[in-house]
């Protein structure tokens, strides 16, 4: 018997007005798993993450985090439950400094010492950030911003990290670095990652499992290796 999955999604449905963006999506993510959510533009990938993190209201269905129902709690409470969403583009606050951005991620933590320890860990993980702590985030490059966004999410000490297109607008080499870092995080602290990607090939190369969305429905799920090998799949939905 497998252990309880860390994230379970049951029949999740979300809509923008009359348009259904997610239709009865089911998925389970095991602890320490890295899974990819793939699909064309408008397939519902970002909506799925927004609904998981409470930015978008679910019309129906449930989201369970280690068995606890988190479907209806407000977005800012998700952090307390250990689920952190890094939105598309990172959501870095450009007018604050790098350090202030990082501090935002740990704001809700009570202990000053615990926050300081987190901060030290995060800058350890992202050396480029350490050199730029007191600079405004507006001066960072795209890759550094993505690192800052992920670093800020890690400040909250998440168990599940939702990443929306971390490779958007980044050079392949930088994308590679970020993907490697995700693998490292999984190995180091048992972090579970749900990765939304346009870049299906790079996403499938580091994930163990993939979900393919089309028009708001999960049309296929399988191990990343088999998804990569399935020619029909690749042509129909993944475009390579």
């Amino acid at each position: 018997m497998a252990e309880q999955p860390i994230l379970t999604v049951e029949g999740l449905t979300a809509a923008y007005g009359a348009v259904t963006a997610l239709n009865k999506v089911n998925m389970t993510v095991p602890r320490g798993g890295i899974c990819a959510v793939l699909g064309a533009n408008g397939a519902g990938k970002t909506t799925l993450l927004r609904t998981l993190s409470g930015l978008k209201r679910a019309e129906a269905g449930r989201v369970l985090l280690e068995g606890a129902d988190i479907t209806r709690i407000p977005a800012e409470r998700h952090v307390h439950h250990g689920l952190v969403h890094v939105p598309e583009g990172g959501g870095v606050i450009v007018e604050l400094t790098v350090e202030e951005n990082l501090r935002l991620g740990g704001l809700w933590r009570a202990g000053r010492r615990e926050r300081a320890a987190r901060m030290a860990e995060v800058v350890e993980l992202f050396p480029p950030l350490r050199e730029r702590l007191s600079r405004p985030a507006a001066t960072l490059s795209g890759g550094e911003r993505q690192m800052l966004a992920i670093g800020r999410a890690l400040m909250a000490g998440p168990r599940v990290l939702l990443l929306d297109e971390p490779s958007l607008g980044l050079a392949p080499l930088v994308t590679r670095q970020i993907m490697d870092m995700l693998l490292q995080l999984r190995a180091d602290r048992d972090l579970t990652v749900v990765l939304v990607e346009q870049n299906a090939r790079s996403a499938l190369s580091i994930t163990d499992h993939g979900f393919v969305l089309n028009q708001g429905e999960v049309v296929m799920e399988d191990s990343s290796r088999r998804l990569l090998a399935d020619d029909r799949m690749r042509h129909a939905y993944l475009g390579f």
């Binding site: 800012e76 939105p87 450009v94």
Partner: protein, 360 residues
């Protein structure tokens, strides 16, 4: 290509670094914690105001006092607009609440000391801020502006609705105790009043500056930039917005109380929509995003009008023209400053300071 003059300026830049490795007075000042720095700065400002009012006459004292309470109201608006990114076109309504609270307290409870009146005013206007803030927390941009505008238009009309209590369109007039008897020969009544207003203002400013430099200020700036990202980082968006509104309403109410105290009246005609819009214009003119902007805005708000009137008087202009001259002045100043220094008078001052520093 490095031209000769460029070369000169860079070598000049480097010199102070090599000759003065020790931290300057300014650096040491900035290294002080906010809780020490802001009260010290306020004490210095208070001493400066005392010195200033000792050389000005009663009219001058009144104007200095006016700069004080406008500054407090604009600083409150700064926290709301410049930090938390919410707009309010109705801050005059909170000044109205503060002024009438002060007037009613003085008229009905003459025994209460001034400081207690001020505290009651802050509590009441913060309560009003909770109600308005909670109702408008879901509104953005133009919708929020519209809702607050309605407040500024509607609230002063209460005076006409309840003429027995609020004095109708003539408002409430009262007399305040001047300088205490023990100080009778030392300072005049108007000096005392200006000092009381500035004392209140500076306490309010220390509170506002400490908040905006701290954790709450950082939360506000985060949600101003990106509400969704701030929420995802664990910041309670709705609550932080309401808190910003409440603090800013408290500052507005306190400013209104100071105004009523200084002028000895509270009339509905002082709290029209024009006042709310002037506060906003003064904030933009002074500079968004820094508490200094409030100071420059308040000075401009008071003295542009004074100079406009004096000029009109000196030129013996027709009263139709004379009455509108200050408004024209303010408008032209606003347009020019924003065109040249989009960050307002504060932006102008800091870029001038940079020039001076580089010139040395």
């Amino acid at each position: 290509m490095v031209s000769l003059s460029d070369h000169e300026s860079t070598s000049r830049d480097k010199q102070p670094e090599s000759t003065a490795p020790a931290p300057t007075v300014g650096d040491r000042w900035r290294a002080l914690p906010a809780l020490v720095r802001f009260p010290l700065a306020a004490l210095a400002a208070f001493a400066a105001i005392l010195a200033l009012t000792s050389v000005t006459g009663p009219t001058g004292d009144l104007r200095i006092g006016s700069v004080g309470y406008y500054m407090l109201a604009i600083a409150g608006l700064q926290l709301l607009i410049g930090y938390s990114g919410q707009i309010s076109l109705g801050h005059g309504a909170f000044m109205f609440i503060g002024a009438y609270t002060m007037a009613l307290l003085v008229l009905n409870q003459p025994a209460l000391p001034l400081w207690l009146n001020m505290i009651i005013t802050v509590v009441l206007s913060c309560t009003a801020g909770v109600l308005v803030g909670a109702a408008t927390a879901r509104l953005h941009g133009p919708y929020l502006a519209g809702a607050t505008l309605a407040l500024a238009v509607g609230l002063p009309a209460l005076t006409v609705r309840y003429p027995e209590l609020l004095g109708g369109s003539n408002g409430l007039a009262f007399s305040t105790r001047g300088a205490p008897a023990s100080l009778a020969g030392v300072i005049t009544n108007t000096q005392w009043q200006a000092a009381a207003v500035w004392g209140t203002t500076l306490i309010g400013l220390v509170v506002l500056a400490t908040i905006s430099a701290g954790r709450l200020g950082r939360r506000m700036r985060a949600l101003r930039d990106d509400e969704a990202a701030a929420g995802l980082a664990g910041i309670p968006v709705g609550r932080t917005k309401v808190i910003a509104f409440v603090i800013s309403a408290g500052a507005g109410g306190l400013a209104g109380a100071c105004q009523a105290y200084l002028l000895g009246t509270a009339t509905p005609s002082s709290f029209t929509v024009t006042l709310s819009l002037s506060l906003l214009a003064a904030l933009v003119l002074g500079g968004l995003g820094s508490m200094w902007g409030a100071f420059f805005g308040a000075v401009a708000l008071v003295y542009v009008e004074v100079w406009g009137e004096e000029l009109a008087h000196a030129l013996a202009l027709d009263s139709n023209v004379a009455n509108n001259l200050p408004i024209v002045f303010f408008g032209v100043l606003l347009i020019l400053v924003i065109l040249v220094w989009p960050r307002g008078l504060h932006g102008m001052a800091s870029s001038l300071a940079d020039l001076v520093r580089r010139g040395r």
